[in-house]
Symmetry: C2
Subunit: 155 residues, 2 copies
């Protein structure tokens, strides 16, 4: 028997990018959320998490990138995988204007600049924004997240 089902740990695949066995933890992490570490999912995970820096991708851009890197992955699988990774907490889904869905490899608390001209998103670390006061969630609900988008334009 090859694989140990370890207990869940609350770290991201990012932590692993310097290690010698880059897929070992990815495989474990996928197993934790009952995603089989298939060729396609591992190829996409490599593209998404191995660069070391945070990324904003769409299904389309990731698909292209996968093609270029030689991985044969269908667009449908890219969509499926992005959603599965998101459900698994490996990615965060961001939706801003323009009808495109972006996925952010930065899953830590943070916010975004949105360029109104190009639609480009840039990360803002959480500590650079201070929210002093928030309203209470309505009855029977709780706040799951606070998303702040700072729209920037020319001048």
């Amino acid at each position: 028997m090859t694989v140990m089902h370890t207990r869940p740990r609350a770290f991201s695949m990012m932590e692993n990018t310097m290690n010698e066995r880059p897929f070992a933890q990815a495989i474990n992490r996928l197993r934790e959320v009952d995603l089989r570490p298939t060729r396609q999912r591992l190829a996409l995970a490599k593209l998404l998490f191995e660069g070391g820096c945070d990324r904003h991708v769409t299904a389309e851009t990731l698909h292209e990138e996968a093609q270029r890197s030689g991985a044969r992955v269908s667009l449908a699988t890219v969509y499926n995988t992005l959603h599965q990774f998101t459900d698994a907490g490996l990615l965060r889904e961001i939706m801003v204007d323009s009808g495109k869905t972006y996925f952010d490899t930065n899953i830590h608390d943070h916010h975004h600049f949105l360029c109104e001209r190009s639609g480009e998103l840039t990360d803002i670390p959480a500590h650079m924004v201070t929210v002093a006061e928030l309203p209470q969630a309505p009855d029977g609900r709780r706040i799951s997240r606070v998303d702040i988008v700072i729209r920037i334009c020319d001048q």
Copy 2:
């Protein structure tokens, strides 16, 4: 761009079929931004602005509502009109998850609750949120707006 601004004419044929001056303000605002007060635009303006309370509509929902109210307006016109109203500053465009574009009749500074279950948006008056610290916009840019979406879920 065209135009003119001779003296505003105070009446269109539509007005006579309605109350005394329900459209006067809308007509003036439309004229200010060079949008002719057509039957369709006035019908939509009435639906959007006459209720007194702030609304979040999509092209689809507003189109349905217009149909029900007896106004014959095509979906294409609803889209055009919503964008024209937005450009004119009468509406604010909001984009959250789910790939639908919402238009908000509340154009004052404010934020939103987003129900993760239903996708429903609710206004939060600006004074209920205090942002103590913001990062600077990148070089040559300025902050045009800060959008805060407080995502709420069950419990």
